[in-house]
C-alpha cells in the first residue's frame, strides 16, 4: 500500500454534488495521474463538510487547507501550486467576513472552529462508502463491547446518565424510551430509525446518512441489543437518493463484515436492518404515520395511547428514534454517559446540529453544544447577515416551530429556553431572516405547507389549517379586517388543542409566534394595507426609475403580461400598474437597478 503524503478530502454531500463536485474529483484524479502524484496524494470522497454554500469544497490534509468553489478547470492549477510547488493556491481560499483576510485552513475558519462535533465527527472526514474507514476510526467497537461485556440494563443506564433527549422534535428522554421498549411485553420487537426528515430547512439527518451511515447502523444494533429486538428499519424519505444509496451500501458492507446479521460477535444476539423508502409525505415523520407507511399503508397517524413502545410496527413494541439521536449513541457508549452529560446545559445535554440557512453569510450544518446562544451561531459561526441587511428573526423547528426576534438573540439554544420564547428546537432547522422577510408571509408559507401535508384525517387539521391559510392570505392581500385577526387567534388555539397528531397540534405555532413578536407587522397589513418588508405582492407596486433606465428593453421583453411599454419618443420604459401581476421578473432582470419596489 503506498504511503500517501497527502490526502484530499472532497466533500460529496448533496449540496456539493449538485454544485458539480464529481467532475472535480475526476479532474483531480486525472491531473494527479498526469503529474505522477497518484501514489502520493489520495483523493477521498467524504460526506457533507457542512459549508454547503461554498461547494464544491476540498480539504487537503495534513495541513487542512480549505479550498472553496473549486471547478474542474481550477484543478490543474491547484495541483500545480499545492502539490508540486508546495504553496497554497490562494485564489480558491475563503475570505474572512470581518477582516477580508484569506483563511487558509479549516481550523482558522470561524465557521468550523466554533463548532463541537460529536454527531458529525466523521462527516467530511471519512469515506462513507468504505466501511474500513469507519472501522479504522473505532467503528463497531462499541457494539462489540456492548454485546460481549455489557447488559441491556447497562446500556440504558448509560443512556439515562447521558441525559440524551430525542432529536426529532419532542425531546423525549431517550433512555426512558429505550427502557419502555425493553420492558414492554412481547416476543418480537422492532427498532426503527426515522430518517424522514421532512422539516423544510433541516438536512442534518441526510448529511449523517450520506456522510457516516455506519454510525447509525451501529447505534441501531446497540438499540436492538438493549431492547431485545432483532430487526431494524430505516425509513428514509425518497427525496434523499444519495442517502438511500449510501445507507444501502453501508448495510451491505456491515452484513459482509459480520456487524449485522445472525449471531453478532459470536453471541446469541442477531440483528439486521432494512431500508424503507418514503414516497413524499411530511406527515410520515410522525411516528405512528411512519409505522403505517412502513407497513405499506397510507401514512396516517393514529391516536396514542397505545404508544409505539407498547404497540408499534405490526402491533409489536417498537423503538423509534431519529437519525441524529442514533448518531449520539456510539460516543455515549464509548466515552460514557457522564462525559456526554458534561456538555450542554442542565436539562439539555450534548450537542445539537442546526441547519443554518436563509439570509446568512455561511450556510450549512453547524454542531454546537446545547445552550450556545443564537447570537454566537448567527454571527460567530454564520458570519452574520449578508448584504448589509439587519437580522430580523430566526425561525427554528420548521413548520412546528416559531420565530425568535432580534431581542432574543442572546437566548441559549436549548429545549427549555426555546420553549419559553414560544419556539422549539425541533429537528434543528435554523432559518435566518432579514428585514426583507415579511413575517405574515412566513407564517402563510408554513401554513400552506401544513395544508399541503395534512393527512386529512381529523377536521381541525384538515379544515383548520386551510382556514388559517385563508385568513393569512386575506391579510397578505390587504383584504382582512381586524376581526379576522381575532378569528385567526381563536382558530389557531383550537387547531392546536384538538388536532389528532403532532402535525396539527403544532401547525399554528409559526402563526402564534409571529403574532407574539410581530403583531405590528400584521396590523400594518390589516390597517395600513401595507407590507413593510415589501414581499406581499398585493401590497407592493413596481415602477421604473426613469433616471436609471437605460432603455435596454430587457424588462419589457421578459414581462409575462406585456405590461411594460416604451415611453414615446424616449429610450425609457414604464410599467402599467393596472395590469402588473407583480411577479418581480422585471426587478430581477434589470441590470441597472432601475426597477424599484415600493
Amino acid at each position: 500500500m503506498p504511503a500517501y503524503r497527502s490526502t484530499v478530502l472532497l466533500c460529496a454531500g448533496g449540496g456539493c454534488i449538485s454544485c458539480g463536485c464529481l467532475p472535480v474529483r475526476e479532474a483531480m484524479e486525472a491531473e494527479l495521474k498526469r503529474r505522477n502524484l497518484a501514489d502520493e496524494v489520495r483523493v477521498v470522497q467524504t460526506g457533507c463538510v457542512g459549508s454547503c454554500d461554498l461547494g464544491p469544497v476540498l480539504i487537503v490534509y495534513p495541513d487542512e487547507v480549505f479550498y472553496q468553489k473549486v471547478s474542474p478547470g481550477d484543478v490543474p492549477k491547484l495541483v500545480d501550486e499545492h502539490f508540486l510547488k508546495g504553496r497554497v493556491f490562494e485564489r480558491l481560499l475563503v475570505k474572512s467576513a470581518e477582516t477580508d483576510n484569506l483563511i487558509a485552513t479549516q481550523r482558522e475558519f470561524a465557521f468550523f472552529n466554533k463548532q463541537v462535533k460529536i454527531v458529525l465527527e466523521n462527516c467530511g472526514v471519512i469515506d462513507p462508502e468504505n466501511i474500513e474507514e469507519y472501522v479504522a476510526r473505532g467503528g463497531y467497537l462499541a457494539l462489540g463491547q456492548v454485546i460481549s461485556e455489557r447488559t441491556p440494563e447497562w446500556v440504558i443506564e448509560e443512556l439515562k446518565k447521558s441525559g440524551l433527549r430525542g432529536r426529532g422534535g419532542a425531546g423525549f428522554p431517550a433512555g426512558t424510551k429505550w427502557d419502555f421498549v425493553r420492558k414492554a411485553p412481547g416476543e418480537r420487537k422492532y427498532v426503527v430509525c426515522n430518517a424522514d426528515e421532512g422539516d423544510p430547512g433541516a438536512f442534518m439527518d441526510r448529511s449523517v446518512l450520506e456522510g457516516d451511515p455506519h454510525r447509525v447502523l451501529e447505534a441501531m444494533a446497540i438499540a436492538g441489543f438493549a431492547a431485545s429486538a432483532d430487526q431494524g428499519y430505516i425509513y428514509v424519505r425518497a427525496e434523499y437518493p444519495l442517502a438511500i444509496r449510501r445507507t444501502r451500501r453501508a448495510i451491505q458492507q456491515a452484513r459482509e463484515a459480520g456487524f449485522l446479521g445472525r449471531n453478532l460477535f459470536e453471541s446469541s444476539f442477531s440483528f439486521d436492518i432494512d431500508i424503507r423508502v418514503g414516497a413524499g409525505a411530511f406527515v410520515c415523520g410522525e411516528e405512528t404515520a411512519l409505522l403505517a407507511s412502513i407497513e405499506g399503508k397510507r401514512g396516517i397517524p393514529r391516536p396514542r395511547p397505545p404508544f409505539p413502545a407498547v404497540s408499534g410496527l405490526w402491533g409489536k413494541p417498537t423503538l423509534i428514534n431519529n437519525v441524529e439521536t442514533y448518531a449520539c449513541i456510539v460516543p455515549i457508549i464509548t466515552r460514557g454517559g457522564d462525559w456526554y452529560a458534561s456538555i450542554g446545559t442542565e436539562k439539555s445535554k450534548g450537542t445539537k446540529v442546526f441547519a443554518l440557512a436563509g439570509k446568512i453569510r455561511n450556510t450549512g450544518l453547524v454542531e454546537v453544544p446545547m445552550g450556545t446562544t443564537l447570537r454566537e451561531i448567527v454571527y460567530d459561526i454564520g458570519g452574520g447577515v449578508p448584504n448589509g441587511r439587519k437580522f430580523k428573526a430566526a425561525q427554528t423547528g420548521g413548520p412546528s416551530g416559531g420565530c425568535i426576534p432580534a431581542e432574543h438573540l442572546d437566548i441559549p439554544m436549548d429545549y427549555e429556553s426555546l420553549a419559553k420564547v414560544g419556539s422549539i428546537v425541533g429537528s434543528g432547522g435554523l432559518i435566518i431572516m432579514d428585514e426583507d422577510s415579511c413575517m405574515v408571509d412566513v407564517a402563510k408559507f408554513f401554513m400552506e405547507f401544513c395544508t399541503d401535508e395534512s393527512c386529512g384525517k381529523c377536521p381541525p387539521c384538515r379544515v383548520g389549517t386551510r382556514q388559517i391559510y385563508g385568513l393569512l392570505d386575506k391579510i397578505t392581500k390587504g383584504e382582512a379586517r381586524i376581526e379576522d385577526l381575532h378569528l385567526l387567534e381563536e382558530l389557531c388555539g383550537m387547531v392546536k388543542e384538538s388536532s389528532l397528531c403532532g402535525l396539527g397540534q403544532t401547525a399554528p405555532n409559526p402563526v402564534l409566534s409571529t403574532l407574539r413578536y410581530f403583531r405590528d407587522e400584521y396590523l400594518e397589513h390589516i390597517v395600513d394595507r401595507r407590507c413593510p418588508a415589501k414581499v406581499c405582492p398585493s401590497l407592493i407596486r413596481y415602477s421604473i426609475d426613469e433616471a436609471a433606465c437605460t432603455g435596454c428593453s430587457l424588462c419589457a421583453r421578459n414581462c409575462p403580461e406585456n405590461t411594460i411599454f416604451k415611453v414615446e419618443d424616449q429610450k425609457k420604459y414604464r410599467i402599467d400598474p393596472a395590469r402588473c401581476v407583480k411577479c418581480g421578473v422585471c426587478f430581477d432582470v434589470c441590470r441597472f437597478g432601475a426597477v424599484v419596489k415600493s
Binding site: 386529512g456 386551510r466 384538538s498 389528532l500
Partner: protein
C-alpha cells in the same frame, strides 16, 4: 374481566378493564358526542367530537380511543370542551356543502343534530365548498361527496364487517375523498351492494335511492321483522310510510347479522317492478276473470275435491314455497293432508339440518378459529355468511378451508382449497381427513371449528368431528345453508322439498306467495295437471295458465313465524297492510278446511 372504577364528571362509575373511556360512559349513560365512532369497527379517533379532559393528561384526548384506567378522573363537559366541539363542527360545516334544507338526511342527520346540540348557529369561516359530483350510477344507493364528513364509518364497515374492501380514502389533506376501487363510479366498482355503508353514514353522503326524500325517520314507522330471502332469517327493520315500505334496514341490535344484510335482502325484494295479483281470479270460458273471494274459494274447492273424488287422494297435490310461514304451512297441511289425506304435500326448498352437530350461529363463525366451507356458493346466495367468514379470517385470523367452487372471493383467503365439481363436493369433504394433509392438521388443532355447508352437501361426515381432537365442548358446529326463509320449518313439518308434482296428479294447489322463483318450475307440467290453483303475490306465466288464482300478501305485509337455519324461530311482522282484496294465506286455507 376485572372491574375498574373511574370518576366521570365528579360521579363514581364502573367499567371493565379494556374499556375505552367512551365505553365506560356508554355503560353509565353519560352522553359523549360522537361522529366517527361506530360499534363493531375499530376506533379511529378522527372526528374529535368525543374529546374529554383526563386529569393529569397532557392535553384533551378522545374518549373513543383512550383506554379507561382504574382511578382515572375524567371530565366530559366544560366550557372549553364545548367550545372546541363547536369549533370542530364549524370547521366541518365550512368544508363542504352542508346546507341542510336540501339534504336527504336533514332531520335524521347526526352532524346536524350535533350542531343543534352544541349551539353552532353560524359559520364564521368562508365556505370552501369545492364542487363535487354526485355518483348516482348505482341502482340502489347514491354517493354525494358534498355531504361527506370523512368519518370513514363506511370504509371501516365495508372492510371490517363486510370484507368487501370496496371503499377507501383517496388523495389527502383537504382533497381527501371517499372512493370506490380505483375511483370508479359505484356501479362499476367491486361494491357488493349490501348497503351497509348507507346504513352507517351519519350524514346524507351515502343514501338509499328508493327512500330518498320520502320522509324523515320520525314520519315513518319502523317494524322489526325477519328476512325470508334465505334460511338465515336476518333481523331486519322495515321502514314504512303511508302504506309503503321505503326501505329495509339491518337490525343493529341483532347479535347475528348485526345490521348487515345482503343485496337480496336489503334491495331486491323491494326494487322489483312486478305486477301484483290484487284480487281473486277464476277461469271462465277460457279466460281468467275477476271473482269474489267466495266464488274463487268455491271454484278451488270444487276443482280439488272433484279430482280427489275421481282419482282418490293421490290425484291431489299441494306444493308450497319454503318461504311460507309455519302458520301458512300448517293451514296447507290442515286442508290437504288432514282433511283430504293427500300424500302429495311438499314445500320447495325444505331442507333438514344435518344430524350430529350443534348448529352454528353467525356469531360462532366470527369467533371460530377454523371455518370449512363446502357446497353452495355462499358469496352468491348467502352474502351475510360470506361477510362473517371474511371477518373471522381477516380480523381474527381464523383459518379457512374451501371445498368445491364455493365463495370465489373467499378462496383468496383460504389456506386450503379442495377443488371439486358440484357432484363431487360431498366426496371431497371426506378427503379433508386424509392422513398427513394440511387440512387434517388444521382440523386437529382447531378449538372452535365451524362447518358451513350447503347444497348439494346435506351431511357432515362424523369423521370430521372425530378428527377435531382439540375441539372445545360443543364444537365443532355446523351451519347448513338453505335456500328459503322457512326451509327448516318446512322440513320440520315433514314436508319434502321435491321440485315437481307426482305423476297422476289431476289437481294441484301451488302456494307460491311472494316467491317469484318457484312458479316457473311447473310450467312444463302444466298440461299434465288438469286443475291448477295458484296462490301468488305476483302475476307470472303460470298464473296466467291457472284455473283459480288467489292473491297473496308479500312478506312485508304479513305476520307469522319461520324456523331459520340454526333452528331458531324468527318472526315476520307486517310493516304495511296488504292491498284491499288480498287476504292472508293461512286464513284462506284455514277457511277451506272448515
Amino acid at each position: 374481566m376485572s372491574e375498574i372504577s373511574l370518576t366521570i364528571n365528579g360521579k363514581q362509575v364502573k367499567g371493565e378493564r379494556g374499556d375505552t373511556i367512551l365505553k365506560v360512559c356508554e355503560r353509565s349513560d353519560i352522553y359523549v358526542p360522537t361522529l366517527c365512532h361506530y360499534g363493531g369497527v375499530h376506533e379511529v379517533g378522527t372526528c374529535r367530537m368525543c374529546v374529554v379532559e383526563v386529569q393529569g393528561g397532557r392535553a384533551l384526548t378522545t374518549a373513543c380511543t383512550t383506554p379507561a384506567e382504574d382511578g382515572m378522573i375524567v371530565k366530559t363537559e366544560s366550557d372549553a370542551i364545548q367550545s372546541l366541539r363547536r369549533a370542530t363542527l364549524e370547521l366541518l360545516f365550512s368544508e363542504r356543502n352542508h346546507y341542510c334544507m336540501f339534504c336527504e338526511a336533514s332531520g335524521d342527520c347526526e352532524l346536524q343534530a350535533l350542531a343543534y346540540r352544541h349551539g353552532m348557529d353560524s359559520v364564521r369561516y368562508p365556505n370552501l365548498y369545492p364542487k363535487m359530483e354526485l355518483d348516482t350510477s348505482h341502482p340502489y344507493l347514491a354517493l354525494d361527496q358534498n355531504r361527506c364528513v370523512l368519518c370513514r364509518r363506511c370504509v371501516r364497515v365495508c372492510a371490517e364487517l363486510v370484507g368487501a374492501h370496496s371503499l377507501g380514502m383517496r388523495e389527502r389533506g383537504i382533497e381527501t375523498l371517499l372512493a370506490a376501487d380505483g375511483g370508479e363510479p359505484l356501479s362499476a366498482s367491486s361494491c357488493v351492494s349490501c348497503g351497509a355503508c348507507v346504513q352507517v353514514c351519519p350524514t346524507g353522503a351515502l343514501f338509499d335511492r328508493r327512500s330518498a326524500y320520502r320522509g324523515r325517520e320520525k314520519d315513518c314507522t319502523t317494524v322489526k321483522s325477519s328476512c325470508p330471502e334465505c334460511a338465515l332469517g336476518c333481523a331486519v327493520e322495515l321502514v314504512a310510510r303511508s302504506g309503503q315500505v321505503l326501505r329495509v334496514e339491518g337490525d343493529v341490535e341483532s347479535p347475528e347479522n348485526g345490521g348487515l344484510l345482503c343485496r337480496r335482502g336489503r334491495y331486491e325484494s323491494l326494487n322489483g317492478h312486478r305486477e301484483r295479483v290484487l284480487q281473486p281470479l277464476v277461469r271462465k270460458g277460457g279466460e281468467l276473470a275477476s271473482a269474489s273471494w267466495d266464488e274463487a274459494l268455491a271454484a278451488l274447492r270444487a276443482g280439488i275435491e272433484a279430482a280427489a273424488a275421481a282419482g282418490g287422494a293421490g290425484a291431489v297435490a299441494a306444493v308450497a314455497s319454503a318461504r311460507a310461514s309455519n302458520e301458512a304451512l300448517a293451514a296447507l297441511r290442515g286442508y290437504f293432508q288432514q282433511k283430504l289425506d293427500s300424500p302429495n304435500v311438499g314445500a320447495i326448498g325444505a331442507a333438514a339440518s344435518p344430524d350430529g352437530y350443534p348448529a352454528a350461529t353467525l356469531q360462532d363463525i366470527r369467533q371460530a378459529d377454523l371455518i370449512i366451507l363446502a357446497g353452495e356458493d355462499a358469496g352468491a346466495n348467502h352474502q351475510v355468511v360470506e361477510f362473517a367468514v371474511s371477518q373471522a379470517v381477516e380480523q381474527h385470523g381464523a383459518a379457512l378451508i374451501v371445498v368445491g367452487s364455493a365463495a370465489r372471493r373467499l378462496q383468496k383467503q383460504a389456506c386450503v382449497v379442495v377443488p371439486a365439481g358440484s357432484d363431487e363436493v360431498a366426496r371431497a369433504l371426506a378427503t379433508l381427513t386424509a392422513a398427513g394433509s394440511e387440512s387434517l392438521k388444521r382440523i386437529a388443532c382447531a378449538e372452535r371449528a365451524v362447518f358451513v355447508v350447503g347444497a348439494p352437501v346435506t351431511a357432515v361426515p362424523q369423521a370430521l368431528a372425530a378428527a377435531a381432537q382439540s375441539a372445545r365442548d360443543g364444537w365443532p358446529r355446523v351451519l347448513a345453508l338453505a335456500p328459503k326463509g322457512n326451509s327448516r320449518g318446512a322440513a320440520q313439518a315433514g314436508l319434502n322439498g321435491g321440485a315437481s308434482v307426482a305423476k297422476g296428479v289431476k289437481a294441484a294447489f301451488i302456494m307460491a306467495g311472494d316467491d317469484t322463483e318457484m312458479l316457473d318450475r311447473f310450467l312444463p307440467q302444466r298440461d299434465e295437471i288438469g286443475f291448477l290453483a295458484v296462490q301468488a303475490s305476483y302475476r307470472s306465466p303460470l298464473v296466467e295458465m291457472a284455473d283459480v288464482v288467489l292473491p297473496a300478501p308479500v312478506w312485508t305485509e304479513k305476520a307469522g313465524t319461520m324456523v331459520n337455519a340454526q333452528g331458531r324461530e324468527v318472526s315476520l311482522r307486517p310493516a304495511v297492510a296488504p292491498p284491499a282484496g288480498v287476504r292472508d294465506e293461512a286464513d284462506v286455507l284455514a277457511a277451506l278446511s272448515q
